[in-house]
Amino acid sequence: MPAIAPLPPKPPIVHVRPIADALGDEGLFISKAAEKAAEHWEDRAQWILTHSRESDELDYESVPLDDAGTVRVRYKFAGKLEPMPYEWDD
């Protein structure tokens, strides 16, 4: 019987609203501090989610090189591979 896969975790939605009525230097200060706090919590949430995933989920696909063309070749048997000279370093 097929099982329902759990939904992937999502970062919590953080709503921080600046105080609309706050004006002047103090209002600006509060508004900037709230913005900074929201950014901080969003970063933390994303970091925690990234770390909570299994390493397999963060696997990657190797990036292919760019196709650059083709060349016509005729293969020629150049002999069996021979060992390279091996020098002793005494």
């Binding site: 994303q46 990657y60 650059a68």
Partner: protein, 172 residues
């Protein structure tokens, strides 16, 4: 910030040499069997040398091992999960198997200009081809010490890893 790269000129090769636009032929599984002329496709990519410098300097190898190197943008185009905040930081700290991050050749302090080496893809190209390719490039980039040793160690750690059939359960 100590630069990762130094500008270099000439045909000599060393571990950590960045060689842009190298051509890599890809062979059909039946290549060479017919005896007739065949069409071989080739790809172009930026590669970094992983063969040890001492082997290259003493001409102890006919073929040179290289890994592909990409910009973050190019890598993200194929791996959108790497756009998630925190993933590149894991790579930067050397915690992502198979990947190694190097500072960009220009703007090294801008981490978005960093470069990513994929150790899973290893190409082997003839020494003479790479040497002539290196000579063609007016000024190229060479990874300098101790960054080249750090890079070499990361490659060695990846290559020597051992997969176990089972593991001790993690402590949570």
């Amino acid at each position: 910030m100590t630069p990762f790269w130094i500008a270099h000129q000439g045909p000599d090769l060393a571990q950590g040499d960045l060689l842009p636009d190298c051509l890599v032929p890809t062979f059909d599984p039946q290549f060479g069997e017919s005896g007739d002329a065949e069409t071989v496709p080739f790809e172009r990519g930026d590669l970094i040398v992983v063969t040890q410098s001492c082997d290259l300097a003493n001409a102890k190898t006919r073929f040179v091992a290289l890994c592909p190197i990409f910009t973050l943008e190019r890598f993200e185009a194929f791996n959108s999960n790497f756009k998630t905040k925190g993933v590149w930081e894991e790579v930067r700290k050397g915690r992502r198997e198979g990947l190694h991050m190097l500072a960009g050749t220009d703007e090294p302090e801008n981490n978005r200009r960093a470069l990513i080496v994929d150790f899973r893809q290893i190409y082997s190209l003839p020494f003479e081809y790479l040497s002539s390719r290196a000579a063609e490039i007016e000024t190229r980039w060479r990874l300098q010490s101790p960054f080249v040793e750090h890079f070499s160690q990361a490659f060695a750690r990846f290559f020597m890893r051992v997969g176990l059939p089972s593991a001790i359960p993690p402590f949570k």
